[in-house]
C-alpha cells in the first residue's frame, strides 16, 4: 500500500513538474528607474538584446537557449542585494551588477555561493588579482587602468612631461569616485604634476563652488569621475566657465551621449575613456537589426542601438556568452552551471579571430584571462565627442596603462583583503 502511494505521488509530481528545460540563465540587475534610470535602461537594453540575438539567430549558445532574468534595483545597493538573493537560485551563471556599491556588497556573497561576477570597468579594482578573488573578474580594464590611460594621453600631448602641470579630479564623493585617487597620487609623484581633488556630493546637481575653484586656479587638465546628473552638470559648468573642452576628460562612466547632449555645441571636443567602440559599424549590428529590432523583439524602443551605454551592455553580454562557449568546450556539456562558467571566464581568450567570428572585430581590446589575472591587460581608448555630428569617435587605439604602477597597488589592496578575510592562495 505504501509503495503504491509513493508511486502515485512520484508520478503526480513528475507530471506537475514537467520536463526541466535546459537554459542558460543570466540575471540582469538593471536600473530602468531612479536617478540613473536614463543610463541604466540603455545598458540593460544592450545586454538583453544581445542575448535575444543569440536565441533568434543561433538557437542560443551551443544549442541551449539563454534567459535574461531582469530584476530592477533602482541603483539601490540594498535592492541590488535583494535581487541577487532572489535570482541566485534560478540557475544564475554570472552577475554583472553595474554598480560599484553593489559589487562591493556582492563580493563576499558570490564567493560563498560559488557564482562568478564580472565587473568590467567598475567595482573593486583589486579583484583583478584572481589569486585572492576566485569568483570575481573585472577584465579587460579597471578604474586604475583608466586613470593611467588618461595620464598617458596627457603625457603624449605634452612630449612626455607633465612636471609643473596641474590636473583637477572632479569625483563623485563615493567609493566609486574615490577609486582612482591612489593611482593618480602615485602617478603625480612619478610625473611631477599637481593633483587637485574636488569631491562632489551625490547626486551632483549643484557644482558651482567646484567650478569657481577651477576657474580661479586654472588647472591644465580636468578629469571627471561622475555618473548620471553629475556628468551633465559638470560638462555644462565647464562650458559656462569656458574651461577648454579639449582638456576635459571623463572616465568611461562620464562619456555617453546622455552626458554631452544637454550642453549642446559647448560640449564639442570633450573626451572620455572607453573600453569598447561606439556606433553600429560592425557586421554584428546588421544581424541585431534583422533578428531583434526589426522583429520587434528589442528590449527597448530600438532607437538606442549603437549608443555608448547600449554598446557597453551588449559588450558585457558578449563577454559572458563567449565565456559560456569556453566553459561548454572545456566541460563537454551544453548546459553548464556557475562553477563551469567560472572556469570559462578564467580561460577566456578574446582575439581578433574570436571577435571576427561574432562580427565585432576591433570592437574591444584583445586579451587573455588567467587564474592569477582576472583583470586582463588594462587596455583602453580615448574617444572624443563631435557635437556637430552628434557622435563619439575613437581618437586612439586600445592603448596600455602603466602596469608597473598599478600592479603593486592591486597586490597591496588584494593582500589586505586576503588578510582580513583569511583567504589562501587560489592559484597553485
Amino acid at each position: 500500500m505504501k509503495l503504491t502511494k509513493l508511486a502515485v505521488i512520484a508520478v503526480a509530481a513528475t507530471m506537475v513538474a514537467g520536463p526541466v528545460l535546459a537554459q542558460l540563465v543570466f540575471p540582469s540587475l538593471s536600473y530602468r528607474t531612479g536617478p540613473f534610470g536614463a543610463n541604466g535602461s540603455e545598458v540593460a537594453d544592450g545586454f538583453a538584446d544581445y542575448m535575444t540575438l543569440l536565441n533568434e539567430r543561433d538557437g542560443g549558445i551551443g544549442g541551449v537557449m539563454t534567459v535574461v532574468n531582469e530584476c530592477e534595483t533602482g541603483y539601490s545597493t540594498e535592492k541590488g542585494v535583494e535581487c541577487y538573493e532572489a535570482t541566485k537560485g534560478s540557475g544564475a551563471l554570472i552577475y554583472q551588477p553595474l554598480s560599484t556599491g553593489m559589487a562591493y556588497q556582492l563580493i563576499p556573497r558570490v564567493t560563498a555561493d560559488g557564482i562568478p561576477m564580472l565587473t568590467t570597468g567598475y567595482g573593486r579594482t583589486s579583484v583583478a588579482n584572481g589569486d585572492v578573488f576566485k569568483q570575481v573578474f573585472n577584465f579587460p580594464v579597471n578604474y586604475w587602468n583608466g586613470a593611467s590611460i588618461a595620464v598617458n594621453y596627457m603625457l603624449a600631448e605634452n612630449d612626455g612631461d607633465l612636471s609643473g602641470k596641474t590636473i583637477a579630479l572632479l569625483y563623485h564623493n563615493s567609493a566609486y569616485g574615490k577609486e582612482p585617487i591612489p593611482t593618480l597620487e602615485a602617478l603625480a609623484e612619478i610625473h611631477g604634476f599637481d593633483l587637485t581633488l574636488l569631491p562632489i556630493d551625490s547626486p551632483g546637481q549643484e557644482q558651482k563652488s567646484q567650478w569657481l575653484q577651477i576657474r580661479r586656479e586654472r588647472p591644465d587638465y580636468a578629469l571627471l569621475w561622475g555618473w548620471g546628473i553629475m556628468n551633465q552638470v559638470a560638462i555644462q559648468e565647464a562650458a559656462n566657465v569656458r574651461f577648454p573642452m579639449e582638456n576635459f576628460m571623463g572616465i568611461w562612466w562620464s562619456g555617453s551621449e546622455n552626458d554631452v547632449i544637454p550642453a549642446g555645441m559647448a560640449a564639442d571636443g570633450y573626451k572620455a575613456l572607453t573600453f569598447h567602440a561606439m556606433g553600429t559599424d560592425f557586421p554584428m549590428f546588421d544581424d541585431l537589426q534583422t533578428y531583434v529590432v526589426d522583429a520587434g523583439l528589442a528590449a527597448g524602443s530600438g532607437d538606442n542601438v549603437g549608443t555608448v551605454l547600449y554598446n557597453r551592455g551588449m559588450y558585457g553580454a558578449m563577454l559572458a556568452a563567449e565565456a559560456v562557449k569556453v566553459a561548454q568546450e572545456m566541460h563537454g556539456v551544453a548546459q553548464i552551471d556557475a562553477a563551469m562558467m567560472r572556469d570559462g571566464l578564467e580561460n577566456l581568450v578574446i582575439s581578433d579571430e574570436s571577435m571576427a567570428a561574432i562580427g565585432l572585430q576591433g570592437f574591444g581590446p584583445n586579451f587573455n584571462v588567467s587564474c592569477k589575472n582576472h583583470g586582463g591587460p588594462g587596455l583602453g581608448a580615448v574617444a572624443e565627442w563631435d557635437a556637430t555630428a552628434q557622435e563619439w569617435s575613437l581618437i586612439t587605439g586600445f592603448v596600455p596603462s602603466d602596469m608597473d604602477v598599478i600592479q603593486p597597488l592591486i597586490e597591496a589592496d588584494s593582500a589586505a583583503y586576503a588578510a582580513e578575510n583569511n583567504i589562501e592562495s587560489q592559484c597553485s
Partner: protein, 347 residues
C-alpha cells in the same frame, strides 16, 4: 589677498544666485503649505513631471508609447510634429491644472480634516506614484530643454558666464583675478523668481481667492463654514504650485537635461524652508539667498589654501551638510523660521 577677497565676493554673489534657484523649488512647498497646511513631499517630482511633459509635448512624443508598443506590437514614438515652446508651455500648464484637479478628486477630498501627518503621508505616496507614472508616460530617457522662441526673438535660455560682468570687473584685482563670474541662467532665474514672488505675494495678500487660501490654511472647518469651497481652493493652490514646479523644472533642467534626478532638488529646498519659514513667500526667497550665500562662502573659505595653511587641513563638498547645519542654527533661535508665523497652541 585682494584677489582672495574679490573671489570671496564672487562666491557670495554666486551663492545669492544659486539660492534663488533653490527658492524656486521652495516656493511650491510654501504655496501648498500656506493654503492647506500640507507639506507636499511630491513637489520635486512635480517639477520633474512638469519639465518632462513640456519637453515631450514639444517633441511631439506620444504618451505611454512604451505601453502601447508592448501591448499592441506597434513601433510608434512620435506624432510627427513639433510644438513651439510657448504653446508647449501653455499646454503643460493645462496638464498641471488637470493634475491638480485629479489630485483633489482622487486623493485630497478623502482627507479633509485629517491630521497634517496623514496628508503628508499621502503626498509621499503621490511622489512615488508620480515617479513611476512619469516614466511610464514619457519614458526615462534624458530629455533636453529647448526654450527657443524665434517668433519672439528669444534664442533660448542663456547659458554661460556673463562676459559683460567679467570684463567690467576684471580690473578690480591683480592679473590673477579674472573678473566676477555670474551665470546668465542664474540671472534669468533670479528675474523670474522675483516676478513670481511679487505676483504670488500680491495674489495671496490682496485677492479674494488669496484670502480664501489663507483662511483654509488656518482652519478647514471654519473656512468651509463661511462658504469657502475647500476643494476648489485646493485645486487652485495645487495648480499654482504645479506652475511654479514647472518653472523650477525648466530652470534646473536647463543645466542638466530633464531626468529623474531633477526630483531630488527637493533636498536643496528643505533647508531653505526650515530657515525661511513654511508660510512665507518672501521667506522662501530670503531663506534661499541665506542658504546659498552661506554654503558657497563656507565652501570657499574651508577649501582655500590660506585656510589650509592656517588650520593644517582643508575641506571640500561641504555644501550639502552645511545648508542643514545653517538651517538648524537658525531654528534654535526661531523655530518657526525667519518669516514663518509663530504657532501658539493652547492645551
Amino acid at each position: 589677498m585682494l584677489d582672495q577677497f574679490l573671489y570671496g565676493i564672487e562666491a557670495a554673489m554666486n551663492g545669492l544666485m544659486t539660492g534663488i534657484m533653490y527658492s524656486l523649488v521652495a516656493l511650491g512647498f510654501v504655496l501648498i503649505f500656506k493654503a492647506s497646511g500640507v507639506f507636499n513631499y511630491a513637489q520635486g517630482v512635480m517639477a520633474l513631471f512638469g519639465a518632462m511633459t513640456l519637453v515631450s509635448i514639444q517633441k511631439g512624443q506620444i504618451p505611454f508609447y512604451h505601453l502601447i508598443n508592448a501591448t499592441f506590437g506597434t513601433d510608434i514614438k512620435y506624432f510627427g510634429w513639433e510644438v513651439p515652446a510657448l504653446l508647449a508651455i501653455l499646454l503643460t500648464v493645462c496638464v498641471m491644472i488637470l493634475f491638480a484637479w485629479l489630485v483633489e478628486r482622487l486623493l485630497l477630498k478623502f482627507l479633509i480634516n485629517q491630521d497634517p501627518v496623514i496628508l503628508f503621508m499621502a503626498t509621499i505616496g503621490l511622489a512615488y506614484f508620480m515617479e513611476g507614472f512619469g516614466d511610464l508616460m514619457w519614458g526615462s530617457d534624458l530629455k533636453v530643454i529647448d526654450m527657443a522662441m524665434p517668433a519672439l526673438g528669444i534664442p533660448g535660455l542663456p547659458q554661460g558666464g556673463s562676459l559683460f560682468i567679467e570684463n567690467a570687473t576684471s580690473g578690480l584685482g591683480t592679473d590673477r583675478f579674472f573678473g566676477f563670474f555670474i551665470d546668465k541662467l542664474d540671472i534669468t532665474a533670479a528675474i523670474i523668481a522675483t516676478m513670481l514672488v511679487v505676483v504670488l505675494t500680491v495674489f495671496s495678500q490682496y485677492s479674494k481667492t488669496g484670502r480664501a487660501l489663507r483662511a483654509v490654511a488656518d482652519d478647514h472647518q471654519a473656512a468651509m463654514s463661511v462658504g469657502i469651497s475647500l476643494r476648489t481652493i485646493w485645486v487652485i493652490v495645487w495648480s499654482i504650485a504645479g506652475v511654479v514646479a514647472l518653472v523650477a523644472g525648466i530652470m534646473w533642467g536647463a543645466k542638466s537635461g530633464v531626468q529623474f534626478s531633477l526630483s531630488l532638488i527637493t533636498l536643496k529646498a528643505l533647508p531653505v524652508l526650515m530657515l525661511g519659514g513654511f508660510t512665507s513667500i518672501p521667506g522662501a526667497i530670503i531663506g534661499g539667498m541665506i542658504i546659498g550665500v552661506g554654503e558657497k562662502v563656507f565652501e570657499f573659505i574651508v577649501s582655500s589654501s590660506w585656510f589650509g595653511d592656517a588650520m593644517g587641513f582643508t575641506m571640500n563638498a561641504t555644501e550639502n551638510w552645511f545648508a542643514y547645519v545653517l538651517a538648524l542654527i537658525f531654528l534654535v533661535f526661531r523655530p518657526q523660521g525667519l518669516f514663518g508665523e509663530k504657532i501658539i497652541e493652547r492645551v
